[in-house]
């Protein structure tokens, strides 16, 4: 983890309520896809943890959903503005454990970290399949970005207004050897239940610090108590207790 002042390079709405923020600054502390940053916002006591979507060199991208006053303020930040950021938090996905045909499943606001994961898997010569689940057509984002990577991409909508109707679990391919998932708890649970293989699942929890000091986001696992912010947010399938 490193603390730094980052410059906003861009901040645009991808859908109604989902924004993509590009930041310039030190990305040296990022060690794996699925890690997150914790952003200090003027006027708010706690930082806002947001998963890293993509990074390279001195640039990183996060995609976030406006859910409250903090993310509302964040969505109003414009190019050139500065943000105090803790970068490279959490464990992220361990791509060394992923198979050559890993299913990369994202649900809603859980889609962004799967982009960085898909990219990392491609870099190591693996051929992931991306399953992107949304409620409805107007909430879809990043479909083109995933396709542009050259990743086989399936979009599902719960109401059938676009792509395959249903949840990501119904779009699992015939053959796969590993599952990585990020999304709301019911989606994670469904992906866990549907997975015929081992896998890694990224969890969300309300956090205090984001770096392991306050025990605000603890959970029980088969390997003992873990902090979602520090020992997670990614847990291995075998250790998860629902």
């Amino acid at each position: 983890m490193r603390q730094g002042i980052y410059t906003v390079a861009g901040n645009r709405a991808l859908t109604e309520g989902v924004w993509e923020l590009r930041l310039l600054g030190d990305t040296g502390s990022i060690t794996a896809p699925g890690q997150f940053i914790n952003i200090k916002l003027e006027g708010f006591f706690l930082r806002r943890p947001i998963s890293i979507c993509d990074w390279s060199g001195e640039a990183l991208t996060v995609v976030y959903k406006v859910v409250g006053k903090g993310t509302e303020v964040l969505s109003q930040m414009g190019a050139g503005e500065k943000l105090d950021v803790l970068c490279g938090l959490g464990n992220g996905f361990d791509i060394s454990k992923c198979g050559g045909r890993t299913v990369v499943a994202g649900g809603g606001a859980g889609v962004p970290p799967m982009y960085g994961l898909a990219k990392a898997l491609l870099r190591t010569g693996k051929s992931p399949t991306a399953l992107l689940g949304f409620n409805t057509k107007k909430e879809i984002f990043y479909e083109e970005e995933f396709r542009a990577l050259g990743v086989e991409t399936v979009v599902t909508t719960a109401d059938g207004s676009y792509g395959r109707k249903g949840f990501v679990t119904e779009a699992f391919p015939e053959e796969y050897d590993y599952v990585c998932a990020c999304g709301p708890l019911p989606m994670l649970r469904a992906a866990y239940d549907a997975a015929a293989t081992s896998g890694q699942f990224s969890f969300e929890e309300r956090m205090g610090c984001g770096f392991g000091a306050c025990m605000g986001c603890s959970c029980k696992t088969k390997y003992g108590n873990k902090r979602i912010c520090r020992d997670g947010p990614v847990l291995e399938k075998e250790e998860i207790i629902w």
Binding site: Q3, L46, E205, F211, G216
Partner: protein, 305 residues
Amino acid sequence: MVDLRVRLAGIELDNPVIPASGTFGYGYEFAELYDINCLGTFSFKGTTREARFGNPTPRIAECPAGMLNAVGLQNPGVEKVISEELPRLKEVFRKPVMANVSGFSVEEYAYTCSLLDQEEQVGWLEVNISCPNVHDGGMSFGTSPRAAAEVTRAVKAVTKKPVFMKLSPNVTDIAEIARACEEAGADGISLINTLLGMRIDLRAKRPLLANGTGGLSGGAVFPVAVRMVYQVYEAVGIPIIGMGGVSSAEDVLEMMLAGATAVEVGAANLVDPFVCRSIVEELPGAMEKYGIQDLKEIIGGGHHG
């Protein structure tokens, strides 16, 4: 050269800055970020006899100028703290450390303290009789002078190390509780723990915290803490560790003027992991600004008549 040193119940601190229990773990997360030996000391995560997972999540809620927490004393239990955490702590921190202890019965407090008393690196015991987030213990000892005195006596009977009783602000007369602890043999008083609070989720129409209530900390509680330190300083003759919403060198000076010998920094660590180092670095400048040569000399300096 200004002098930052203070004496806390017989042990000299290089400076009065102490990360508060529950916001600094056992030190090693922060030791990855900076050399924590720049601190006066730190108070490690509250320890109980048995391992505790604590409360269900969500455990954290934000508020203007602060936060609520209802962690519920998650810790691995005193035996594992001694066998696993303290050896790791020793690798990154070479000064005497403050052991924070909590319990659910007088016997449990005494048992946990008796084990920590054997640990060489433990300089002080900070006995938490003020946790608002556990049921049937914690704060209930800190809201009655008789029970506070009983815990104090039981702990003093099993240790030679200085004992600081950590008090709850959720009482009608903080001075009365502090006096009861002093009369029972306490070597010092730590205050304040968090103020009991609640937030309600407008969408779900239920309390935000799974525990319902939680403890308020952060800048919002600073004036309450200063007032209570001031009152307790007038009531007792033993040293006080002041805490509650401290986040700057100037807050440290204000707390010391109210009567604190040393000052703990809590919630601010969670927002800025470097804040304690920054405070230590900024203290000399703040002292010069306010014409202070020797920090020891301003303890209680805000009291007149």
